[in-house]
Amino acid sequence: MKYDQSRIRNFCIIAHIDHGKSTLADRILEKTGVMQLRDMTDQVLDSMELERERGITIKSKAVRMPYRAKDGVEYELNLIDTPGHVDFTYEVSRALAACEGAVLVVDASQGIEAQTLANVYMALDHDLEIRPVINKIDLPSAQPEVVRQEIEDEIGIDCEGCPLVSAKQGVGIEDVLEDIVNNIPAPQDDIDAPLQALIFDSYYDNYRGAISSVRVKAGSVKVGDRIRMMAGKCEFDVTEVGAYLPLGYSPRESLNAGEVGYIAASIKDIADIHVGDTITLAANPAAEPLPGYKPVLPMVYCGIYPADGADYESLRDALEKLRLNDAALSYEPETSVALGYGFRCGFLGLLHMEIIQQRLEREFDLDLVTTAPSVVYKVIKTDGETVMIDNPTNLPPVQEIDWMEEPMVDAQVITPQDYVGAIMELCQDKRGTFRDMKYIEGGRVLLKYDLPLNEVIYDFFDQLKSRTRGYASFDYELKGYERSDLVKLDMLLNGEQCDALSIIVHRDRAYPRGRSIAEKLKEAIPRQLFEIPIQAAIGGKVIARETVKALRKDVLAKCYGGDISRKKKLLEKQKEGKKRMRQVGSVSVPSEAFMAVLKMD
């Protein structure tokens, strides 16, 4: 097809979870014929097992589809799928920046929900043309007319003639495609200007190296061009450019203004590709990069250790492989007295951390011990030096600390009015400072708080979900550091400090946290030959104490008829069990105990 911007449509699909985003994407792929029915697995774009299982998209993806519309013209549709979680807000914003329009999917029986609104606001921020689609009209409880009215009233988008579809049954898909072609604007980018290609995703391909997914905003790029990463400040020679098909690559001679596709340039390290960065040509660079670039910094750190020390190398290899595809993941070796050799890993947020842990366990079959997540604290020492601390163990001695600062976030909660009280209470509990409250469409309220990040990563999401029955949506952005009365809470087992269990916590929180962790440890540590005192302490002062009582009875009564196999088997099992435990001084601590610090009442 000849290059013609007026025939290009770049769009994404946004929806509240479970409103049918992935199914609609599948149907669109099917309808445009890029996927044959026989190639279809459910949710084609969510290719990772985890993505399908959790129903969330972790990586952005783009697919190009040819579509001959009713006006007889063949269009080029680029669907850019976006991640759906607050940890990946920045990635989402870059993907949206690559589009001109968004298809807003709303469930015909559920109507507008919290995420629907959050997504709409984000799309509006990027000046996207929003095209509502009412899905699941096949459900007996579907009320398309009511939902249509709701969209008009609450979001203020004209819903006249919006497609009514059942993605599940394949009804109305063509209407969606026609609506996209007719109402989402074509890109109007300047092909003659110097190249500006927005990177909205990156990943690693074994044959092509690290690849950038891009939207060309100006100019064009072709094989052989020398490109420059404007923020990354490095240069590469382009080896391949092209468009994505659902199951592979479609190489082209060039990628031009308005188009979406990929650029491969034999890039070995994915760290050289920054999402949000602008690619330009070394020979004829753009004067300015595209707006909106932010370096991605890990917000949350935790220690990841192999449950079996012998798996250290395998863990390193696995992290290296995941890192190939995930520039936001960082890791470096660390050692713990209790846990041995492992890695300090940095993540965008808790979900990102959880995803990485699960991928390590599933895709690489590793048993892990994970320490409590920590944010990065700023420590100003008495000698004037400032150090950043992402591991409580590395905190300087109290007498060397002048003061400490903790990272704060701008938090934004959108909630139905009924839950405002509950959320304010929660934010207060979490040491939040109230900033603003606004009534928005549909009886909803926008609450703004300043919150310490270390409270957010603790159990904020779970609490928010349970206190609002899942109706509130939450978004945050790092704001900066604030001075705070922080202390290091240590846990002592049988009098010996266990480094992997230390956390940094606000002084007001130390007592309840210490008591709760001690209780959790008491449950997690099995009885042993001797009584084990568990103590929580701040700077040597014990603030909570629990005791694991000594084992009462552990003996096989009878070795019958010279058959010692049972006894041997039992002992083997116990030996195996002990091997899976960590020795903290004389105490055997099971792996789960290290997660006890995380768990809530």
Binding site: Q528, L529, F530, L551, R552, K553, D554, V555, L556, A557, K558, C559, Y560, G561, G562, D563, I564, S565, K567, K568, L570, L571, Q574, K575, K578, S586
Partner: protein
């Protein structure tokens, strides 16, 4: 000549007890004849040259234990036949200890007389309890009165070495009932008492009862208290605890069982019987059909030095004598304490072990948690 112990398994009983998961089947009288034919064939095999050479040239038989099941259920002449056949394996030592296990409900003076004639000099009776209610709940076929009759019958037949098996930690068992049982056993003046804590084995009717909540086993503290009660009552009556579950008047320790704990050579004959012969372990199949079809010597392994060390540790520490430190150093080429200094110090300070006169032994408290102590002593080096 080295001492050899023989174990002969009789997998038949009148009724399966509620807690039993041993190889034993009620009924099956039709198989009894074939079974004894097979055992005698197996004995003949061991009487001839095998891959272990000719046993009769290396060993003398020090102990024989005919266990079950209920050996006293079958015709005593069959047991006599088996014992006679065993003389072909190796010569019996003049003072060989020959035990037959029996159920008090199956004894007759005639059977006992045949056993005596065949050379049996020790009788081990499965008494379990002197409480008729508990006996019934366990599915035993006898009453407390029958135990007393059986002991009298055995004494009359000339048995001067008698053991009673007792069980505690039974569902619903009160300390008072356990005391009465201990006292009753002592009053009968038996020479040896085995007191086993009930193990609820998966797949047994007992396990189903416990799982459904119909039966509740006493908690660990109650079980320990019962064991301590046994220790104090029995020692007051002159029975010394020489192994975790075994008590004997001086000179009446069961030499056969000591063979297991000291890792002496033993040969198991019959269904489900286990053997340790010249550093190799093997066993016969558990299923009667498999045994009758000729399957033998399963899972045979030559024990490594590591295996031998672990076995020595876990078996010897069951006994009051304890682990022989000099023998350890000689057999394994390194002092036991080496690499275990810290664990030993902790265990000793905690009152779980004591060392002296060349042996390492568990204290009363240590024996309550023997598995955990052994695990601790295995350490990283073993």
């Amino acid at each position: 000549m080295k001492p050899l112990s023989l174990y002969i398994h009789i997998p038949f009983c009148a009724r399966k007890c509620a807690y039993c998961d041993f190889a034993s089947w009620p009924g099956r009288e039709a198989d009894w004849g074939r079974y004894f034919d097979e055992i005698e064939a197996e004995i003949r095999l061991w009487s001839e040259e095998t891959d272990f050479g000719l046993l009769s040239e290396q060993y003398s038989i020090a102990t024989v234990f005919i266990g079950g099941g209920t050996p006293t259920l079958v015709d005593a002449a069959c047991l006599e036949g088996v014992l006679d056949a065993c003389r072909g394996i190796a010569p019996f030592e003049p003072d060989a200890e020959i035990t037959v296990e029996g159920n008090p409900g199956t004894l007759t003076p005639e059977k006992l007389a045949v056993c005596r004639r065949a050379g049996v000099n020790r009788l081990s009776l499965g008494a379990q309890s002197f409480d008729d209610g508990l006996l019934k709940a366990l599915g035993r076929i006898h009453t407390a009165a029958q135990i007393k009759q059986a002991v009298a019958m055995a004494r009359d037949a000339g048995f001067d070495n008698l053991n009673l098996d007792l069980m505690y930690a039974l569902p619903g068992q009160e300390m008072a009932q356990w005391r009465d049982t201990l006292d009753a056993a002592v009053a009968l003046g038996v020479d040896h008492i085995s007191a086993y804590s009930l193990i609820v084995e998966p797949g047994t009717p007992m396990a189903a009862r416990v799982a459904s909540g119909a039966a509740t086993v006493p908690d660990d503290d109650a079980v320990n208290a019962m064991q301590r009660e046994a220790i104090s009552r029995l020692s007051a009556a002159g029975y010394e605890r020489y192994e975790i579950s075994n008590y004997a008047k001086p000179g009446f320790e069961c030499r056969h069982n000591l063979t297991y704990w000291r890792r002496g050579d033993y040969l198991g004959l019959g269904c489900a019987a286990h053997s340790l012969l010249r550093g190799r372990r093997f066993h016969n199949p558990d299923a009667l059909e498999d045994y009758l079809s000729g399957m033998r010597r399963l899972d045979e392994v030559a024990l490594t030095r590591q295996d031998a060390m672990e076995e020595t540790l876990m078996l010897s520490t069951r006994t009051a004598r304890g682990l022989d430190l000099a023998a350890w150093a000689r057999d394994f080429g390194a002092p036991f304490n080496q690499g275990r200094e810290r664990a030993l110090a902790r265990l000793e300070a905690g009152g779980l072990i004591e060392a002296g006169d060349g042996f390492l032994r568990l204290t009363t408290r240590g024996m309550e948690v023997q598995d955990a102590v052994v695990l601790e002593l295995m350490g990283e080096t073993v």
